[in-house]
Amino acid sequence: MTNKEHKVLVANRGEIAVRIVRACRKLGLNFVCVYTAEDVESGHVLLAREAGGDKALYRVSSYHDANELLAVADIAGATAIHPGYGFFAEDYRFARRVSRRESKLVFIGPSWRVIRELGDKINTKRLARSLGVPTVPGSDKPIYDEMEAERVARNLYEFQQQQGIEHPVILVKASAGGGGMGIEEVHDIDLFRSVYRRIRNYAARQFKDEGVLIEQRIRDFNHLEVQILAERNCEGVVHFGTRNCSIQSTGLQKRVEVAPGFDSGSVAYRFDADQVLADITMHSLAMAKEVRYDSVGTWEWIVTREGKPYLMEVNTRIQVENGVSAAIARIKGQPGVDIIAEQIRTALGEPLGYTQDDISFSGVGIEYRIIAEDPDNRFTPWVGRIDAFSWKKEDWLSVYTHVPESSAGKPYVIPTEFDPNLALGIVWGENLAQARERGKLFLDNLVLKGANSAGEPLKSNVEFLRRKTEQILLF
């Protein structure tokens, strides 16, 4: 089978499904999408119907039902499956199942062994430590016992006091969590048990696993990422630079991402920022090669104010923010890089066709996550209908969304079952100052209106994003 004969099942929804469909079309591949009752009006459904007709769409009961997805794959004649992010993206059992069943499918993501190896935060930490890669101080196994958890937390607390940290803080995380879910800080060690119980109960409810991780909460840090891409045969491994994801909501969820991770040309740092970027990139590549990584992946780091990097975790999937790295990347001098298309192409067995020396970077990219939420009330999601959504088209701007533009003429009701992201706006500038100016211009021209069932106007984070634009990359 040649690559062009493949048909990709898009096992996801919303904005990422839209981008996967577009990448498939760009590569000349057929596709089939799924949707649930809540997503009837979603842009990914409209796009799939428009580009592929009714035979490119199947209604399922849940994006979480593997049997259903595979039944759709069979009936639609799919030969590959793209999990997007969330849902099955980091489920090694699912990846193993699709690649071993009678009607085998290509899993467009890392092989199941790699997901199993790196998908587990604790395993990743162990592997990193074995390679001399610095990791955040804390437990290296999930803790299920309250007494043990408190002992680890007290040790970490005392360790911070010995280090001269004035206000030590402990982080309690659901071991099976991700995406900012199930994380809470402990400022007073005597209150540890109540926080521990809350996270344990939350983890049991949401992830069916009560295990928690106890870590030192490093203050005043930047959250950086390294974007990796590797060929299926693990021979070619390249990186697409770094991102800075430090602007987050109070729930530690990303709201603005910037590429590159630091910009020493525009911002003065206390440390050698270029060296830190080089170090984390080198460590990430070394780990990728060690585990024979074979798809796209993201190495997540925290960098302290003193410039000390610590590996947090590895996301064995495409990230929401892949587009901002693509915005500043050039392959053999050419812009228009599409990391999702690269992921699909290489997963189907094509070689990269370029080396690290062919990848260059130009300018600064900023990605804004447009979300209906109330930043003044702990970023509580806002639920209602969107009556107007549009933006001014610019050649330096890409907007990815599943919300139909106002021109579609129909209001869009935000489903409450999923992540509340509405759109991603990615701007590019020749330098940080221009990117910031363009970012503000994009937000100023954005039209986003709606109302909830009580008639109250839509709440969004647009003003928050505008305020934060001034602080981008400042450390």
């Binding site: 199947y58 009961s61 039944a71 939350y202 999601p381 409450t416 999923f418 992540d419």
Partner: protein, 217 residues
Amino acid sequence: MLDISAVLEEIKASPYTELSVRAPHCGLLTFPGDLKPGDPLSGPVGEWKEKPGTLLATLERERNERPISCEEKGELAALNRELDGCFVEAGTEIARYRHFLSREEVLQLILKRALHLFIAPERAKYYFVPAVDIKFKVSGPKAVTVHDGDELFIMSRMKREASLRYSGPEGVIYAVYFIYNQNVDAGAPLIGVCPPDLVPQVEEAVLRVQTEWTERN
């Protein structure tokens, strides 16, 4: 004050509901050969409802056959025979049947009108707070008394959880209307609370339904 006689008469005038059976997920659908409209249907029976009701269809996906059985007793109104042997999508209507209300269902209908209903403020998943949840598991719902301002629920949606306090008269939780891990629409009742002054009326409703409602076979 609820007029129980009037409500009972209203229910007696229309003693059944018409229910739609939809494909719970996508898959290959097959019907049993002998089923036809007008056939009587049985619901699940046994002490723990372990014996399923009349088989309406079979839905197969990934070599897993899922029998779709009747959830209540009743009479088959329509069967979408044209779907036999076809791959159907989730939510496709397979059949419709008429279900005659049981004593318990009639009682629940009346209680829903008599009890103080605490309503879901938003579409979300609801859970009892752990302390209440444990009481429920150990002693059952009627063992829990709630007071105005009690922290009673955890409301979960879109990766966020928030606590929800009960507001209303003090009383015993008499009925729970939400299902664990399933979304509840805004405005739907979460629990029915029976304040002490309502107990005689609830007892009367129970007695009247027990004596006046005849179950159909």
